[in-house]
Every structure is written in structure tokens, then in C-alpha cells.
Amino acid sequence: MSKSQKKHNAQILGKGEKTMLFVHGYGCDQNMWRFITPAFETSYKIVLIDLVGSGQSDLNAYDFDKYNTLQAHAEDILDLIEELGLKNVVLVGHSVSAMIGALASIQNPATFDCIIMIGPSPRYISDNSYNGGFSRESIDELVEALDSNYLGWSSAITPVIMGNPERPALAQELKNSFCRNNPDIAKHFARVTFLGDNRADLEKVTVPTLILQCSSDVIAPLHVGTYVQQHIKHSKLTQLKAKGHCPHLSEPEETIQSMKKFLSAR
């Protein structure tokens, strides 16, 4: 197993000439792709990763100074692609990882076939001329919310085996093993994610890009998705019926169809 593979708890499945690299958003881990990946396993090599500091990644590698910008995560992804010798990569990035993917593609466009952004936002905080949807205070409020929700963070809570006869896919899953994040890292990553500004980077993206936009998404509203589409040269926006910020979890079928439609047209 390569160094980066271990660092990111990278899982490789499926087979195909092209690779689909899935990168989860803030607050979760690679488990969030579970309803999407089966649809692509027969025609793509699938690589799932946890960003450093999230999920089962190497938490010791999370240097608070280094990961002060999204660029460090983008470089991690390029390192992994190089170590695994991946080519024609379709990068699927959710939320903040849509921007991380954009940064990686700017640095090395030749590696990527295309980017699929789910709920991207280049800037969450509003100013006079831009409506990102959030105020500075609301980010502090989020950090407070993190402080008072010890979901899976207390050292006393360990994953328990959960049976769910009505959803066999979930049977024997480890409850509380998803989206467990170290509280200090979660707070730091929240600030890096929600205080960042990558608007100027959008115009540097040259790789063909699909933007999947949910309806009533409070994190990345429609006008932000439109802004992203208008500033990336070869981009297309598909509006989904799915509500919320995680269509790959709430409406996986619609998400898969939109992805397939874009990929087959290429």
C-alpha cells in the first residue's frame, strides 16, 4: 500500500480505464458515497478516500499550519493520483471538496478527464457585492454547535453493531462509526472550509465541469451554483429535484442518472 493510500485510508474497487475519484465534503467521510459507487463499479476504477483529518485517515498527519488552506488538501490528492499512477480521472467532489478538486485540476489539468461538483460554493460568507448565504457570526455559531454535540466524540462512545432488518444493506453496520471526527480538527476544518474564498480560482479551471445543484440547499443555494457555472469556462449546471445538501444520500438514483448523462455525452 502506498504512503498516500494509507494516509487517506484509500479504497480501490471496480475496474475500467478511467478512474472515478470520490472526495467527501466537510464533516463526513468516504462512507457517504455508498449509494453511488455500485452504479459505476463495472465501468470505472473507483477510488474512495478520506481527507486528512477526517474519517479513518491518518490524524497524526493533520498539521494545523499546513492544512490552513484548501491547497494542502489539493496537493494531497495530486500526490495520491501520482502514487497510484491514475489517468483520465473523473473527480467527484462534494461541497468543500468540489473546490479542492478545482484547485487540484488547476495545478495539473492533464490528469483529469472532468470534474463533477456536488453542491459547490467558492465563498460562504456574504459581502456587499456577493451573496454567499452566511455571515461571519454564523460560522462562529457552527463552531459552538460542534462544541455542544459530542456525537461520537466522547471517548466513552464506541461503535456498536447495529442490525437493521428493513434495510439489509445496513445490516451489521457499525453504528456511530460514520462521520466521526476529532473535535479539534473538525473545528479547524470548519473554519478553513467556511471562511475560505476561492472565487478567483474558478476562472482558472480548464477541465470540463458538471455542477449538480440541489433545490433548497441552505449550504450552497442555487444562485451560488449559478455563480460557479458562470465562472468556470467549460461547465454545465444540472438542477436536481433532491433537496438539501447531500443528494448522493437522499436521492442517489437521481444523482447517478445526472452523472451518467454528463459522462456519456463526453
Binding site: G25, Y26, G27, C28, N31, M32, R34, S95, F134, S135, S138, I139, D140, E141, L142, V143, E144, A145, L146, D147, S148, N149, L151, M162, N164, E166, R167, L170, E173, K175, N176, F178, C179, A190, F194, S216, D217, V218, I219, A242, K243, G244, H245, C246, L249, S250
Partner: protein, 393 residues
């Protein structure tokens, strides 16, 4: 009694909430309406669960709560701040289950909502107490570190005091021997002169007077050294750093010692380049070199040689060396040469007396000038002292 489930449901001591999979409210009980201040018509089919949350709560809902609910089918004991109709807030604890329905029906989510205002206050008190105790712990750790370092300082001071005490003892023993002996000889010569003045001839009186003068000279030298040493010990000596031409120091010393050396048939060779300069206190450096030349002559037999040389070192320092073809220094003696631990001064090859303080003072001065002093010596063959100084600007 007959159970009325409808009453139980609406008057339950917690809020009940049913939503579609996207969070749109489809049913709620009276307790939930009482918590939030809305009427059923205002919110049913019209609001989503998220709409009751603060912005920070919305982000948490979308990035943690919703993914977990989707993946696990249930989430429990999550704390949010709910916003009432009048925009006031209250803390709640949420449990949620995602109900998977059959093909005809849609999935829906069941929530229970507990008002935890008092529990939250208690939690905040606990959090504050925890924060405070962590602060106190940090303070305690700092105080402990300070104490440990104080203990170290005290131990160092104790060692220093012990050393000073030893120095003081040795100092008295040197004074007792070296200062007292010229005074004794002064006393005996002067008594001789007083008691036998009539029976002594002019030559004898002259010889005794010369011896008297030598004793006085030596005593004055001794007193000078003692005063300087005492000043250095009391850190009262004014250090005056300047750039000095090495030749200015060496030629002056060579001139002064030429006569003394000639009397012992010793040739003093003094060759130093004009351009060499060093940085330091001129009086102190002169003292050191003078002392080394004086010692070299003192411990060299008749017809030997003494040389005074200087050169630039590759590391940027300047080395002034004093060599002699004298008696040499034993390894054992080398070790205590610069300390006050020597019992007394050593007599020269021609019976010269010393103060026993010269090398020790030289060593102190080298330290003050940021220099170094080293010895190369072999018994019976001679000795070389190397002194290294900072180059002048």
C-alpha cells in the same frame, strides 16, 4: 381506564414531528406547537425541519445530521438551538428515525424534540467549570515549573557560594604566605640595619638596602594584583572594549622585560606584524601578556630563550603566543594553573618570587575578553602559552 392515544400524543411531555424525507413538516403534536409558538396551519407542509435551526445549526444538520440519518437510519441525542416564531431561541435535544415505507408510500422521518433549557444551563456550567479547572491546571503546572526552576537556581547559587567560600580560603592562605614573607624579610633586614648600623660597612648597607627595595617592590606588585583581583571579584572593574594593535602591546612589554631577561642571559625575541589588531580591554590584555612573559623569563634557565609571536587564525581569531625553553609544567600542575587552588606561588629558576595570583587573574581577564588561553608544555623542554582574542574591527 380507557387510553386516549390522541390525547397522549398531543399532550406528551415532548414534541413529536413527522417530516418527508426532505424535511418538509407533515405532522406535529400540540407540545411542539407550544414549544415553537406557531399554529399548525402556519407550518404544516410549509416549513422544513431545518427552518427551525440557527445558521450554524443548519450547517451542522447538512454536514453531520442528515448524512448520518441517511446512512444509519437513526440519529440520537443531538443538541440544536431552535428558533421560535418570536425569534427567541431555546436548546433542544433531537432523536430521529428514518422510516422506510413500502413502495406506495414515501419514506418519512420521525423526530422527538425535548426542551433542555435547564439541562443546557447545567451543561454550560459544567463546561465552564471544566474550562476553569483546565485553566487552573495550567496555572498549577506553570507554578510547579517555576518552583522547579527556582530550586535549580537555589542549588546553583549554593554551589556558587561554596565555590566562593573555597576561593576565599585559598585567597587567605596565599595572602598569609606570599604577602607575609616579604614583610617578614623587610622586618628582619630593617632590624638588622637598626641593630648593626655601626658595625656594617657602606657596601653591606647598600646590599641590604637593595634587598629591602626588592622586597618592597614585590610587596607593591602583590598589593596591586590583590586589588585588581578583588575588583574583578566584586565586578567593579570597568571593562573598556576597543580595537588594539597587537604590536603596541607586545613591543612595550618586550622593552620593559629586555633588561630583566638580559640579566639572566635570556634572549627575548619579539616579532609581531604591524597590521594585526584585536578587540578587548587594553589594560587587561596587557596584564595577561606581561604576566606570561614575566613567567617565561622566571622559569627559564640562564642562556635560554623566550619568544613572543602573534598570528591570524583561519577562524577569525588572533593568537598571541609566549614560548620559552624553560623548566616546563607537569600535567598535574597544568590542571590547577589557572585556579586559586594552587597552594602558593612557585619560585623562579633564579629565586624569583611571585604573587601566586598572576595566572589566575590572567584567566579571569581572558574570560572577560571572550578569549581563550591554552598551554603546551613538556617538562625540561619548555612551555608555550597560546592566547586567542577576537580580531579588531
Amino acid at each position: 381506564m380507557e387510553l386516549d392515544f390522541k390525547t397522549l400524543y398531543h399532550h406528551a411531555p415532548c414534541g413529536y414531528l413527522y417530516t418527508k424525507e426532505d424535511g418538509t413538516l407533515i405532522e406535529m403534536n400540540d407540545t411542539f406547537l407550544a414549544f415553537t409558538g406557531y399554529s399548525r396551519e402556519e407550518i404544516i407542509e410549509n416549513r422544513r425541519f431545518e427552518d427551525f435551526l440557527t445558521l450554524g445549526g443548519k450547517i451542522y444538520y447538512e454536514t453531520h445530521f442528515a448524512p448520518l440519518l441517511n446512512m444509519q437510519g437513526e440519529v440520537s441525542q443531538i443538541n440544536f438551538d431552535f428558533i421560535r416564531k418570536d425569534e427567541t431561541r431555546f436548546p433542544v435535544l433531537i432523536n430521529a428515525i428514518k422510516e422506510s415505507a413500502n413502495e406506495k408510500q414515501h419514506n418519512y422521518i420521525q423526530f422527538i424534540v425535548l426542551d433542555i433549557t435547564q439541562r443546557k444551563q447545567y451543561e454550560m456550567e459544567l463546561m465552564n467549570a471544566k474550562r476553569k479547572s483546565e485553566e487552573l491546571l495550567t496555572q498549577l503546572r506553570n507554578v510547579n515549573e517555576e518552583l522547579t526552576s527556582n530550586i535549580q537556581v537555589i542549588a546553583e547559587q549554593r554551589d556558587q557560594l561554596e565555590k566562593l567560600n573555597t576561593t576565599k580560603d585559598k585567597f587567605f592562605s596565599i595572602v598569609a604566605h606570599d604577602l607575609k614573607s616579604p614583610l617578614n624579610s623587610l622586618k628582619s633586614f630593617s632590624s638588622l640595619l637598626i641593630n648593626h648600623i655601626d658595625s656594617l660597612n657602606k657596601d653591606e648597607i647598600l646590599t641590604m638596602s637593595k634587598q629591602l627595595r626588592d622586597s618592597v617592590d614585590n610587596t607593591i606588585k602583590m598589593a596591586d594584583n590583590l586589588i585588581t583581583w578583588a575588583m574583578v571579584q566584586m565586578e567593579d572593574y570597568k571593562f573598556n572594549e576597543e580595537t588594539i594593535k597587537v604590536k603596541d602591546i607586545t613591543s612595550n612589554i618586550c622593552d620593559v622585560y629586555q633588561d630583566v631577561a638580559l640579566k639572566k642571559g635570556i634572549n627575548v625575541n619579539c616579532s609581531v606584524e604591524d597590521s594585526l589588531t584585536i578587540t578587548g580591554d587594553k589594560n587587561q590584555i596587557e596584564f595577561v601578556i606581561r604576566n606570561l612573559v614575566n613567567n617565561a623569563i622566571k622559569f627559564t634557565h640562564k642562556h635560554g630563550f623566550v619568544s613572543l609571536t602573534a598570528k591570524s587564525l583561519p577562524d577569525g581569531q588572533v593568537q598571541i603566543s609566549v614560548s620559552d625553553s624553560g623548566v616546563g609544567i607537569s600535567d598535574e600542575f597544568k590542571r590547577k594553573l589557572f585556579s586559586i587552588s594552587k597552594e602558593q606561588s612557585t619560585i623562579g629558576t633564579d629565586g624569583e618570587k611571585g604573587t601566586g595570583l598572576g595566572l589566575m587573574l590572567s584567566y579571569e581577564f581572558m574570560k572577560l575578553n571572550g578569549g581563550q588561553i591554552d598551554i603546551e608544555s613538556s617538562l625540561g623542554k619548555g612551555t608555550t602559552f597560546h592566547t586567542k582574542f577576537k580580531r579588531g574591527h
